[in-house]
Amino acid sequence: MSAVTKAGPATPAGSARPLSQARPLGDRAFALIALASGLLVLVILVLIVVSTAQQSTTWFTTAGFSGIFSTVWDQSTNQYGAMAYLYGTVIASLIAIIISVPVSVSIALLLTEVVPRRWSQPIVYVIDLLAVVPSVVWGLWGIIVFVPWLAPIYASIASGVKGIPVLDNLFGAPTAGASFFTAGIILAIMITPIITSLSREVIATVPTTDKEGAYALGATRWEMIGGVVWPHSQGGVVGAILVGLGRAMGETIAVALVMGSSAEVTSHLFAPGYAIAGVIANQFPEASGEFRSALIGLGLFLFVITIIVNLTARAVVQRSARRMRGA
């Protein structure tokens, strides 16, 4: 540019600069800034582990293995056993998965195989609205509207199954509106959008030729789904379910409000329970000393569990993707 104006009439335009010149400083600086921003992700993940582990050492060392996995949680004696909270988190998330998976996969199939293209986008918007409603609003609605509405239903189910062996243990007394099951229902609503959208992405990759082949053999739509779509997208859907499970386990505020806040290991699903995330949210503000250390330790547990679930999800998806390419 400036070289052009300086160049004499005999010099060809633009030849003042050799092509092999080193990259300008600004260009290299930009590359470094971009690299640093990318590395930030790794730095944050490492810092999460380091800082929470550091803050919870007191709990891990004083409680020991048996203390950590006991069911006794008593501030007056400084005993903090995580078992009841682990149990609550696992049970509520499993209930959520059992309710949400058939619904989410059905909607994903509806969007990809049944409705015409121009209708599917509005349906996706509506499902996504579920994800935009804040967790605390689900919790507020849950505790003020949904829990009182459910309580008599639980009571009548409980009296209905009285005396029937297994069902009595699961759905019999004691009952409360705020319970494992209520938390499971709310979680199911909250994780439906993510499972739906991830399974939809997988199902959309089923080759059209395969589907048309099934139709050409005279299959109905349902038979085509069973014979072509399902074998192809099985792995991806399992991955989507695992991601949903991870979300359900980490979901905090709604669960803190609707689960009943009672740390108990019980087979009764209509009884109040307590989840890891819930106890942290409810008790952390007043905590100090070993109590705080135990709550941060619970957080570290939750982090490790959700990371494992998410890594497994990715591994499942990648393995099935490889298998489909090979086939």
Binding site: F30, S37, L45
Partner: protein
């Protein structure tokens, strides 16, 4: 042919009997699943609007301080929480969006197929699954313990949640930009940073902005990461960088657990305000996607 007349006539267009009914039943259940998810959505929206609309007034949105929960509606207002939510979420966006976009630029433009870029992309995916309450504990451990409660700590926590979402959505948009554009710019002698800043990013700007807005909409409603890094207070704290702060979401959480009528009414009012903010952001994101997206899948 002669044999043809002896064959049974089979209608090949529609399978009959049980196979057909099974197909219809399956389709019915798919629609039923959709309706089943609509029910709670409509239920919660109708409840929030009907219970919240009575609380909303200019005084509610701007009045200060937030009254103690025993007082009825009409005294004071949620002003401090509205200010807090806007400040904390706004500053979180200011941190997370540039860093997220730059991170995605590294993965797609600089990293190419090397192991580091793959690792960062993979870990950004994993990071979207980190529970929001863990981010709260993290910021508490590394920031609040040393520098005390502040709105800034809340912004950091929300920024940590937004970062992987922004990286993911931006990365997907950058993948859609055709390579010919980059090659054409290099052929004109532009440096890599110049190509990225003036050609690649502008051509993907619609998708990037809409992804960023969606992440802001998610962050605005988050409660768990704020709960113990800003310490919910009642008075307006316009200084983001020091002193305990408050936000709409944490106010809802505190008021939802209170047995008083006034507190409940304030919780519904705050919930309606929060939902309107989140939905408005989502709507803007959709409009941006529809109007400014150049390349789609």
């Amino acid at each position: 042919m002669a044999v043809a007349s002896e064959q049974r006539t089979v209608d090949l267009r529609e399978p009959g009997g049980w196979r057909r009914s099974k197909n219809q039943i399956a389709t019915f259940f798919m629609w039923l699943a959709f309706v089943a998810t609509l029910v709670p959505l409509v239920f919660v929206l109708v409840t929030v609007v009907s219970k919240g609309v009575g609380a909303i007034s200019w005084q509610f949105l701007s009045g200060s301080p937030i009254p103690p929960n025993v007082l009825p509606l009409g005294v004071g207002g949620m002003g401090p929480a509205v200010v807090g939510t806007l400040e904390i979420t706004g500053f979180a966006a200011l941190i997370a969006i540039p860093l997220g976009v730059l991170g995605a630029v590294y993965i797609s433009e600089y990293g190419g197929r090397n192991w580091l870029a793959k690792l960062i992309a993979f870990m950004a995916d994993v990071m979207t699954g980190v529970p929001s309450i863990v981010m709260g504990l993290f910021i508490f451990s590394i920031w609040v313990l040393h520098f005390g409660y502040s709105g800034l700590a809340g912004s950091f926590a929300l920024a940590c949640l937004m970062l992987p979402i922004v990286i993911r959505s931006t990365y997907e948009m950058l993948l859609l930009v055709p390579n010919e554009l980059r090659e054409a710019s290099y052929a004109l002698g532009a440096t890599k940073s110049r190509v990225t800043l003036t050609v690649v990013l502008p051509s993907a700007i619609g998708g990037i902005v809409s992804g960023a807005l969606l992440s802001v909409a998610r962050a605005a409603g988050e409660t768990a990461p704020l709960l113990f890094v800003i310490l919910t207070v009642e008075a307006t704290n316009s200084n983001l960088f020091s002193g305990a702060d408050t936000a709409l979401s944490t106010q809802i959480f505190v008021n939802a657990q209170s047995p008083y009528v006034g507190a409940e009414a304030r919780a519904w009012g705050a919930a309606l305000t929060l939902i309107v903010i989140s939905f408005a952001l989502m709507l803007i994101a959709r409009i941006v996607t529809a109007r400014f997206t150049r390349y789609t899948r």
